[in-house]
């Protein structure tokens, strides 16, 4: 995972609520067995069928911050939804509310998800609609989103922030506690099932 400290780029306003994972990347695009190359599936139905879809507009072609309505990422656990956004050039998604698994995956894949109050999300959507070249900064260290003369704080717990800023791999961190895992295993009830064929 790449470290994330601060990012400045332009924003694409996605004025839709409950954008589900089947819209972010439909199932037929999940067949790849690599970890990259998922940009072809990103919002493919909307990109194909809706000329007015924000990402079809040339002025948002270079956007790296997606500003979406509430309940972004509902549905499946597919981390491919994170990868497709990253492969499509996005570094940050901002929304008033995310689905739990999507948000959790984002802390592993290196896509930053930022929760802002709905009014601020709408203000940012308005601003990037008025000026698609508007520069938006997402500063993880300061826990702030800044554009024009506005600064909006966001919350993220210290541990996740530290891990993202260092780009640390969870497995490596857990492997420092192997004795704890050994000790736990030693006292598990013996009747707990195994998958070994009987």
């Amino acid at each position: 995972m790449d470290a994330f400290t601060t990012h400045t780029g332009t924003a694409a306003p996605l004025r839709r609520s409950a954008v589900d994972t089947d819209q972010i990347i439909p199932a037929e695009y999940l067949k790849r067995i690599t970890r990259t190359g998922f940009e072809d599936g990103l919002f493919v139905a909307w990109r194909t069928n809706e000329p007015d879809f924000v990402l079809n507009k040339p002025e948002y072609a270079g956007a790296s911050i997606l500003v979406a309505g509430p309940d972004f990422g509902t549905g499946s656990s597919r981390e491919h939804a994170n990868w497709a956004l990253l492969d499509g050039g996005f570094k940050v998604v901002i929304s008033p509310r995310f689905a739990d698994i999507f948000r959790n995956n984002s802390t592993k894949s290196g896509l930053l998800t930022v929760v802002l109050p709905a009014a601020d999300v709408e203000a940012l959507q308005d601003a990037s609609e008025a000026d698609p070249t508007l520069q938006v900064t997402v500063d993880l260290g300061a826990r702030e989103v800044r554009w024009a003369d506005r600064t909006v704080a966001f919350e993220i717990d210290d541990y996740t922030r530290w891990r993202l800023m260092e780009g640390l791999d969870d497995i490596g961190l857990t492997e420092r506690h192997l004795e704890d895992i050994d000790a736990y295993e030693a006292q598990r009830p013996s009747w707990k099932p195994t998958t070994t064929p009987v």
């Binding site: 139905a45 597919r78 099932p193």
Partner: protein
């Protein structure tokens, strides 16, 4: 203060707790399928890691598998490559495999319970959001992403934080023809697709206690559609009776020890929930969805809603775009909606009881002339059981297609897909745009409504049929 069932299971699995860090949680069972695992195995290889507990890991093929001719190679080269990658990876890392067509193969959430691998008080994960299904046994079961799949493979643990606790209490007696699917669709319509966000839902109350294990699985399955990562039900005699004698259930003295431990798995009287919802079972009727998220559901006696009637701006816009996508007009009675395809299957409703309910309604009748009905058992074992009971003959004589086991049209990763503009009544769990095929339109229904709908070609409640024949 007392603790909830979910809190008890969670606490029993904490390997390490340190201030300022997530807890490290032990995972009792890790289920693996072909779609969300290849990158995780690649990650292990790249880092020179092994699978810590292959004996607590089980894999199956489900999302991509064709439901016709299971023994032939998969025609779609990309699907085939994904299934082959799983076979190669599980062989390399020593993980048990259930290849297509063999006895143990099926949808990952159907085979766990069927084998007796899903037991009360366990932590169970899978790279699939409907892992919540296993909560029906009083397990803490939730879906994870591919990075976490890799983490569990390598360490048999996951960094986690305690969830908030929510109680959904359903008391009273369910009317005839109303099933677990209707309960959960009604719950989601009530609390919304974000209602359970950040929470684990415990389903309680006399109506829940009266349900079979398979019905409980249907309810827990769709916890994710209510926004919760997990849903669970306290284990009881129904649970123990289901588990007794299954392939991986404890035996002899182990069985007694296990049941004694399982009996402790109850929410304390004085436990507090962060949110509580109460539903009167007697007030429920068959539910169907009209929109493009599972919260957009109504009793079948209702009509397609008018977006103008939604007070909330976001809901109104969502309803407008849903109606446009679904090709529906406000005010149309739900019962007047004609469907092209009926899909009976999935991890929500692809178990033997679901097939029995549908077969009972179809017995001696015919699927409507312009309607196609696909019956896809959730696993090879379900298929075999149904065939022993003669259900396959009931379906085929009624004009339905009897298929092999897999996810099939639940998500259309295999050739079973809706064509653009086609409309289905589906017993699966998601009516998202394009879920069952590009441009396809989905109405979520129970198995009984699916069967009744197949007979008339329009959304139909089972009770409507009795009126017709009476």
């Amino acid at each position: 203060m007392g603790r909830t069932l979910a809190q008890k299971v969670y606490e029993q699995h904490v390997v390490r707790r340190t201030e300022g860090e997530p807890d490290l949680l032990y995972i009792d069972l890790h289920l693996v399928h072909e779609v969300t695992s290849p990158q995780a195995f690649d990650g292990l290889r790249a880092a020179g890691r092994t699978v810590r507990r292959p004996d607590l890991t089980m894999s199956t093929e489900d999302h991509n598998v064709p439901t016709t001719d299971l023994l032939a190679p998969i025609a779609d080269p990309v699907s085939r490559a994904q299934v082959e990658a799983l076979r190669k990876n599980t062989a390399e890392f020593g993980i048990r495999q259930a290849p297509m067509g063999t006895r143990d193969q099926g949808i990952v959430h159907v085979i766990g319970p069927q084998l007796g691998l899903t037991q009360p008080g366990m932590t169970i994960v899978c790279g699939d959001s409907h892992t919540s299904t296993h909560g029906a046994f009083g397990a803490l079961a939730f879906g994870i992403g591919t990075s976490e799949v890799e983490h569990v493979l390598a360490t048999q643990t996951l960094p986690q934080r305690p969830a908030k606790q929510m109680s959904v209490r359903v008391d009273g007696e369910l009317p005839v023809g109303v099933s677990a699917k209707d309960i959960i669709l009604a719950v989601i319509a009530e609390i919304g697709t974000n209602g359970g966000q950040g929470h684990v839902i415990e389903y309680r109350g006399t109506a829940i206690e009266g349900l079979s294990m398979e019905s409980r699985m249907t309810i827990c399955n769709m916890s994710i559609e209510a926004g919760a990562r997990a849903g669970l039900i306290a284990p009881d005699e129904t649970t123990f009776a289901y588990l007794r004698g299954r392939e991986h259930s404890p035996r002899g003295a182990d069985w007694d020890a296990a049941v004694a431990a399982w009996r402790e798995l109850r929410t304390d009287e004085d436990a507090e929930f962060d949110r509580e919802v109460v539903i009167d079972a007697a007030s429920l009727t068959p539910y169907v969805t009209w929109g493009t998220n599972p919260g957009q559901g109504l009793p079948i006696s209702a009509s397609v809603p008018d977006p103008a009637d939604f007070a909330d701006e976001t809901d109104r816009r969502a309803a407008e775009s849903a109606l446009a996508y679904m090709g529906l007009t406000a005010g149309t009675p739900m019962r007047d909606i004609t469907v092209d395809t009926v899909f009976l299957g999935s991890c929500t409703n692809g178990r033997i009881e679901d097939l029995r309910v549908a077969a009972e309604l179809l017995r001696g009748r015919k699927v409507a002339a312009d309607t196609r009905m696909l019956v896809v058992p959730g696993s090879v074992a379900v298929k075999q059981q149904a065939e022993q009971e003669g259900l396959d003959a009931v379906f085929t004589e009624a004009g339905a297609e009897w298929r092999g086991a897999g996810c099939s049209m639940c998500l259309g990763m295999n050739p079973d897909q809706l064509q653009p503009g086609e409309r289905s009544a589906s017993t699966s769990n998601r009516n998202f745009q394009g879920r069952q095929g590009k441009g396809g339109r989905t109405h979520l229904v129970s198995p009984a409504v699916a069967a009744a709908t197949a007979l008339t070609g329009k959304l139909t409640a089972p009770a409507d049929l009795q009126e017709v024949s009476a």
